[in-house]
């Protein structure tokens, strides 16, 4: 409908359209500068809620990775302690073989026995390894020193010192971490499981030491075989730990993929397409310029100008 043209409608239209153009221009600027198309809850409530959920999930994945790293540290410390224990046990085997040899005399055997007694103490130190202030082989009793040694006792019959009994003070509890949204994984092997339950390593070493001190070559020979059992026993635990570590690495890789996919989805929802945002911005700029120019022209031509 053709309307009677009146100045006030020109100005009203001008202001109304200028406001609209400016609003769009502002939006284009904020999208370009923030790089995001979701800047307020009301920009797109459904997408916004989705983005926030994704953001919390990504934060959670970061936390899982943190959990895994912390567990890896723990497992790594356990593994290296047990590797040392294996080395020590191997040295015990060669010492025992030397002790079993005919050429070694009673005095030699006593020296070897003292050596092995020291190794036994050293081995206990490894079993009492601390990682970040926690005893790693104490089960969940991580502030309780897991292995303590009683004083040596004098065997009056054989006239030898019997090495002090080593007893386990930790518990059999496993410590689990949350590795991803559903998987929990034990990060420790309790000391009783490693050192005591199958064969009591400290007890076996004590028997070997006593045989050496008694100069009992038959007894020494018997114990060499069981020393290899002990090495196997530790290997078993090392294997378990290795499996866990590789499982964690696997989960970590999966989480990374997960995270990448979520980040991509989040970006597609909340990030502005820069090419589009910038072309929007220049379009709105042109529109704003045109609107301002049109506004400046309002009433340039008026009958008033021709009044004499």
């Amino acid at each position: 409908m053709a309307m009677r043209p009146v100045e006030s409608t020109w100005y009203r239209d001008f202001i109304f359209n200028l406001t609209r153009t400016k609003t769009r221009y502002d939006e284009a600027i904020s999208q370009t500068t923030s790089g995001k198309k979701l800047n307020h809850l009301s920009d797109n409530p459904a997408d916004m809620a989705y983005v926030l959920t994704l953001r919390s999930k990504i934060g959670q994945i970061d936390q899982f990775e943190k959990n895994i790293n912390s567990a890896s540290g723990f497992l790594g410390a356990s593994e290296s302690a047990l590797n040392q224990v294996q080395n020590l046990l191997s040295s015990v085997v060669s010492l025992a073989e030397q002790g079993a040899s005919e050429s070694t005399g009673a005095e030699g055997r006593r020296i070897i026995a003292d050596n092995i007694d020291q190794v036994r103490d050293e081995l206990m130190n490894y079993a009492n390894t601390e990682f970040m202030g926690n005893y790693i082989f104490a089960g969940s009793a991580s502030d309780t020193i897991p292995f303590v040694k009683a004083a040596d006792t004098w065997d009056a019959v054989n006239n030898i010192w019997i090495p002090g009994v080593v007893s386990y003070q930790g518990n059999s509890d496993t410590i689990n971490i949350q590795a991803d949204f559903s998987a929990t994984l034990a990060t420790n092997v309790p000391g009783d499981q490693v050192f005591v339950n199958q064969n009591d390593i400290f007890d076996r070493l004590s028997i070997l030491i006593q045989a050496l001190r008694r100069n009992d070559t038959a007894g020494i020979g018997n114990q060499i075989g069981s020393m290899n059992q002990l090495i196997d026993q530790i290997s078993e635990s090392v294997g378990t730990i290795g499996n866990k570590t590789s499982h964690l690495t696997q989960i970590k890789g999966m989480l990374e993929n997960f995270k990448t996919a979520m980040q991509a989805k989040m970006s597609s929802l909340e990030d502005a397409d820069m090419a589009e945002a910038i072309s929007n911005l220049s379009r709105e700029e042109v529109a704003l310029q045109a609107a301002l120019q049109a506004g400046a022209r309002i009433q340039r031509f008026s009958l008033m100008n021709y009044l004499e």
Partner: protein, 619 residues
């Protein structure tokens, strides 16, 4: 005709022309006056004074001044203004609410909640590390603080709107009085035959302002040219009398203002729930929620001991703290007995069977309720686990809360626990309500029903505990949400372990509890969204994000409607101006036209004057 009457003709006509110039000037001067209707003059020729005499006419006379207006478009603009006022204020209010939840920039509750749960994961990674525990405490405190702040800021917003209502009432009354005065003046002017053009414009302008402030109905009286204005179906202005609006604080609605209108010969009438448009409607909606009719009717109502118990014909869906309005009286729900009943403070007029009732939906009260439910869900789920755990030096489970709960009222003890029924030594209705958290000897449950001194809970108790108990009200849970003060002071009390921790071999490295609590982040059905006394809604984050979606949707809808009404109004105002507005070109053309005739009249009088001179010289 003689020369002297020709001079008289000239004089009259010049005077008339001058009046025309005045009108043109008036129009030009008002070119920018909002709502001004251009005025046009009606000229008429003056006929001969005596019928039958052949002496021609006597020039021109001003027959009248008309303003050009289209009352239909005027009315449309006035009507449209109430929606503009409503959506403008509402979108402003929602923008303020949105700003409280600044999630888009990652500074909001959602991230803080994630940090809190991740803090539990950190503790589970290193349960004996005190700095890690301290960090969890501070994460929990900052989430609790953020929740309380959000809740408090929502309340602050409500108070801003509440005081806005008081201010608006003054503005509305003063406009109503101006309209009454204008009604009177217009009636006088019209009765005395003077066109009341400018007064009519002034009244239209005030009607528009009034409509923007509070939705109105209005109609024009034929008899005296007055306009009658109604608010919520009650007369506000009729001719020269005004029934003023007033506010009174409603003790049942946080002492907020209720809106009243004067009635002739009767006490003022409460119209709070009936004003749904204009800025006033927006303020009430943002503060109290949108008024909607409740499902079903009242089937029974009884008052006793300062309380009214209402029975509904079907499930009412109300929760404690909700507002309910019957026959203009508003109360808040204080208890929720079973069987479609609610208990409120006493109704002055006891509702009758079959009465309809109204409740409020959405907006700030709803957001606060959702924050309460979120906080309530966290208190329930966290404490239920935490109560069973052990701190760093506990030989027996210390039954400690992580989030603070209220201690039982003095003298009220648990006298019996059997399955999911708990008996107390005294009535607990009002203290405990459906959806509240109840802990007896380390077992934490949600309250399902409360009748007298018997309470049922969502899950059976394992042990027959008592007599001590503690609780957390779901209503206002977000407002008092806080970490247990003992834990805040000593983070070693955080129960990360599920086994005794004291002494040699104590399971301080056990992290089962911390891990389970961290896992609550992904747990489903942790929030009791429908006030049934059992969890039914998604994860904590999902619930929070749904709240955000509500806020965002309310904001974007209000903004959209505001924009749409803006376009509509611009169109209508342009249309009005195309009819009633001043065109400078037109006025200039008129000016030129009348200048010419004015000049011609001057010449005419000069000629007559010369002719008179000629006659004078003859003598």
């Amino acid at each position: 005709m003689n020369l002297f009457s020709a001079l008289e003709l000239g004089k009259n006509s010049i005077l008339t022309q001058q009046q025309v110039f005045q009108i043109i000037g008036h129009n030009i001067a008002n070119v920018n006056t909002e709502g001004y209707s251009r005025q046009v003059v009606d000229l008429e020729s003056i006929s001969s004074s005596v019928l039958g005499l052949k002496d021609g006419g006597r020039g021109v006379n001003l027959a009248g001044i008309r303003s050009i207006r289209d009352r239909f478009i005027d009315s449309q603009i006035t009507e449209r203004k109430q929606f503009k006022g409503y959506y403008e204020s509402l979108s402003g209010a929602m923008a303020a609410v949105e700003a409280l939840f600044d999630e888009a920039n990652g500074l909001g509750l959602s991230d803080s909640l994630s940090n809190f749960f991740n803090g539990w994961s950190d503790v589970s990674n290193n349960p004996t590390d005190i700095p890690t525990r301290n960090s969890l405490v501070s994460k929990a405190q900052s989430f609790a603080l953020a929740t309380r702040n959000s809740y408090q800021q929502l309340t602050d917003q409500q108070e801003v709107y509440d005081s806005g209502i008081g201010t608006l009432v003054d503005g509305i009354n003063s406009i109503a009085n101006e309209i009454a005065v204008l009604n009177e003046k217009i009636a006088y002017a019209e009765a005395s035959g003077n066109p009341a053009n400018d007064l009519l414009d002034a009244r239209e302008r005030r009607l528009r302002d009034l409509s923007e402030k509070i939705g109105i109905n209005f109609y024009y009286e034929q008899s005296n040219h007055s306009v009658t204005v109604e608010v919520a179906g009650r007369p506000l202005v009729s001719y020269s009398s005004v029934n003023e609006l007033s506010v009174q604080r409603n003790q049942y609605n946080s002492n907020y203002y209720d809106l009243y209108i004067e009635q002739y010969g009767l006490p003022p009438l409460n119209i709070t729930t009936e004003v749904v448009n204009g800025q006033m409607g927006a303020l009430i909606t943002a503060r109290d929620g949108q008024t909607v009719t409740g499902a079903g009717q009242i089937t029974a109502a009884a008052s006793a001991g300062g309380l009214t118990t209402l029975t509904f014909s079907q499930a009412h869906g109300l929760s404690v703290g909700d507002l309910i309005t019957i026959n203009g009286e508003t109360r808040s729900v204080t208890q929720l007995p079973a069987g479609n009943q609610v208990v409120t403070a006493n109704f002055t007029t006891i509702p009758a069977v079959g009465d309809a009732w109204r409740e409020r939906n959405g907006y700030i009260p709803e957001y606060k309720k959702q924050l309460n439910k979120l906080a309530g869900g966290l208190i329930y789920n966290l404490n239920a686990l935490h109560q069973q755990g052990y701190g760093l030096n506990d030989a027996v489970a210390p039954l400690r809360d992580f989030f603070r709960m209220s201690t039982a009222p003095a003298g009220v003890t648990v006298t019996g626990v059997a399955g999911n029924t708990v008996t107390f030594s005294a009535g607990v209705a009002g203290t405990l309500n459906v959806g509240d958290v109840l802990t007896i000897d380390g077992e934490t449950r949600l309250v399902s029903t409360v009748v007298g001194n018997t309470v049922t809970v969502n899950n059976a108790f394992a042990a027959a505990g008592g007599p001590n108990w503690e609780y957390a009200n779901i209503q206002g849970a977000a407002n008092t949400f806080e970490v247990d003060s003992a834990i805040a002071a000593d983070s070693s009390l955080i129960a990360a372990s599920s086994l005794p921790t004291a002494g040699v071999g104590g399971a301080v490295g056990n992290n089962d509890m911390a891990r389970q609590i961290a896992q609550l982040m992904d747990a489903n059905n942790v929030v009791d969204s429908d006030n049934s006394g059992s969890g039914d809604y998604g994860t904590f984050h999902e619930y929070l994000h749904a709240l955000y979606a509500d806020v965002g949707n309310a904001g974007s809808t209000a903004q959209y409607e505001f924009d749409a009404n803006g376009s509509m109004l611009t169109y209508l105002e342009n249309k009005r101006d195309s009819i009633s507005g001043v065109s400078l070109d037109e006025e200039t053309a008129n000016l030129m036209q009348f200048e010419k005739s004015f000049q011609a009249l001057g010449q005419f009088m000069a000629v007559i004057n010369q002719l008179t001179d000629v006659l004078m010289k003859i003598t």
